[in-house]
């Protein structure tokens, strides 16, 4: 069993940072709503508030890690230009997608959308985390701020979902390949 370095980085970007962010989103939305709209139970509120602050800060780190690895590690491999006369485009995912009438849309719509919409995620969740850390339970008394925090958190979920879906489909039709091969395990012949 083996994996190439580029495939591993794509996995870290998408399944590591991106998917983990998406998983965290539903929990954050529920907790933000519950925390900023219900009355606190006196014995557990401080601990819960601290937990949610750490949870949101982890989401901020995941969101920035996802877009930065995507833009500066994986994307250059995706958009690499093949030398003229290259017949096998397997190592040039963007050109491979653009070469087929049934796959070109995954670049012209999927990647063109994903590469920009994904950046709304870290901007939104950074704001959400800042406002929650600053106001905490006091957000209950600021209705408009609470609506904005929940709205931007939901928007970050939608944007991360769009980026994740497009990324998964692009990698299905034109996976990023190459780099040195990492041996994960040696199979035994049966």
């Amino acid at each position: 069993m083996e994996i190439t370095a580029r495939a591993l980085w794509t996995l870290v970007h998408g399944m590591g940072f991106g998917a983990l962010y998406l998983l965290a989103c539903s929990g954050a939305l529920v907790e933000l709503y519950r925390f900023t709209s219900s009355s606190p139970s006196p014995e557990s509120s401080a601990g819960q508030q601290r937990f949610l602050k750490i949870y949101l800060l982890s989401m901020v780190v995941l969101a920035w890690a996802a877009v930065l690895t995507g833009a500066y590690v994986v994307y250059p491999w995706y958009r690499a230009v093949p030398p003229s006369g290259t017949k096998d485009l397997a190592m040039f995912p963007q050109r491979l997608l653009m070469a087929g009438p049934t796959t070109i849309g995954w670049h012209s719509l999927g990647m063109e959308w994903k590469e920009h919409v994904a950046w709304f995620v870290p901007i939104s969740i950074t704001m959400v985390a800042f406002v929650f850390i600053k106001y905490g339970r006091d957000l209950k008394n600021h209705r408009q701020l609470r609506i904005a925090v929940l709205g931007f958190a939901a928007a970050s979920f939608v944007c991360a979902g769009i980026a994740g879906f497009c990324g998964a489909m692009i990698n299905k039709y034109a996976p990023v390949q190459g780099g040195h091969t990492i041996q994960l395990s040696h199979g035994e012949e049966k």
Binding site: R79, W113, F120, S124, M127, N141, H142
Partner: protein, 115 residues
């Protein structure tokens, strides 16, 4: 926007809404600027070339870096002006949502193709 200094009473919020409003509006501005830059670099070769800060990533590097700088600058300026004030948060939040909505539209390729 209507602004006034905080006058906390036992039943009023502990913090003024200025700092939160600044962060929210800045997020809307940052998203919108990113969308406008992305749209501009898609439509103009000159703009696209200007935004190539890191060649392997292409114009995306400049579009996102510049938008992040504008976002953080806007946030810093608004925070400095509103930190200890009570502002018209309803209008600010509405503007922030409108900017976010426009940003989502402007980054959707079929909409970009209309220009």
């Amino acid at each position: 926007m209507n602004m006034s200094k905080s006058n906390a009473s036992p039943n009023s919020p502990v913090l003024t809404n200025g700092s939160g409003s600044a962060a929210i509006l800045a997020a809307g501005i940052g998203s919108f600027v990113l969308a406008v830059f992305a749209c501009a670099s898609d439509k103009s070769v000159a703009v696209r070339n200007t935004f190539v800060f890191y060649k392997p990533t292409g114009a995306l590097s400049g579009v996102t870096t510049t938008a992040i700088v504008v976002w953080l600058l806007a946030w810093g300026i608004l925070e400095g002006r509103w930190r200890n004030k009570t502002v018209a948060a309803g209008r600010i939040v509405a503007v922030a949502f409108a900017l976010l909505g426009l940003s989502l539209l402007l980054t959707f390729p079929p909409v970009v193709d209309l220009f």
